[in-house]
């Protein structure tokens, strides 16, 4: 049952992610990105992380997609302009980073398969305490610093957005 759903969500996520980068029209790409986000939320549900799944839908599929769409309308991308391929430096740098990411993913999967399937909070324990209770209990005690750092990050985001968007553009609506 879980395996079937896993494959459904995994295939949807991968196919929509590939379609997102191959589509020429950025609005269609955004729609496929939403589909990817929803499949990831489904994955979180399967991993018994209900809170993360709902937050994924609310924040990513809701708020961040609105932001992306506004930026698209702001840039007014009519036709995709294809840059010439001959950019050896960018291609090399991109390949190196992609390789590093691949190695990291490989090690994470390897550790996950060998050391333990679940961490300090296996599904039985989470279900006994409650998904949100576990997150709250950990976040506001052991992970207090990242939590407060997040507020500074949000503050920087607010100030940055206002400074960047302060100027009035010519020929805007």
């Amino acid at each position: 049952m879980v395996t079937i759903f896993f494959f459904i969500f995994a295939v949807t996520a991968l196919v929509s992610a590939v379609l997102m980068i191959t589509y020429k029209n950025p609005v269609y790409s955004a729609l496929f990105l939403i589909l990817t986000f929803f499949s990831l939320a489904g994955m979180y549900f399967l991993l018994e992380a209900q809170f993360i799944a709902i937050v994924q839908i609310i924040v990513y599929a809701g708020a961040i997609m609105v932001l992306f769409l506004f930026v698209m309308m702001l840039l007014n991308l009519r036709q995709e302009t294809r840059l010439p391929i001959g950019r050896p430096f960018q291609v090399a740098l991109g390949s190196i980073f992609a390789l590093i990411l691949l190695i990291q993913l490989f090690f994470i999967v390897k550790v996950g398969l060998t050391v333990s399937k679940f961490g300090a909070f296996p599904p039985e324990k989470i279900n006994k305490i409650g998904s949100v209770q576990v997150i709250g209990g950990e976040l506001f005690t052991n992970y207090l610093f990242p939590f407060e750092a997040a507020s500074i990050l949000l503050l920087v985001g607010i100030i940055g957005a206002i400074i960047l968007g302060r100027k009035k553009l010519p020929n805007e609506m």
């Binding site: 879980v2 708020a63 702001l74 007014n76 209770q133 976040l139 553009l169």
Partner: protein, 121 residues
Amino acid sequence: MVGELVPILVLLAVAVVIVAGIIGLTHLFGPKHPDPVKLSPYESGMEPVGEARTRFSIRFYIIAMLFVLFDIEVVFFYPWAVVFKKLLSMGSFILIEMLVFVGLLLVGYLYAWKKGALEWD
């Protein structure tokens, strides 16, 4: 458990079936007599002017960005509210840490307010 998610799944299935059914049936049974005027974009009964993809004001970006940031702030409130009572019995630390969090974001809110980012003009 995953079994508890069956109601959500049923809800999703019902939603998909209803939407697909309504769109599919109207597509099948609806009369179709297209002509150029009918197929032109509807713009409140006026002659269409310009194109749909005009450049949006940057103010939409600021509004969307502020929405995202305060949305994330509220997401942090939820687990806090759930564990508040339990952790309050161990001292008022939980209250202080949220006050620091909200205090920092209040600075951002006041900044947005003073800079006129919440005003449309």
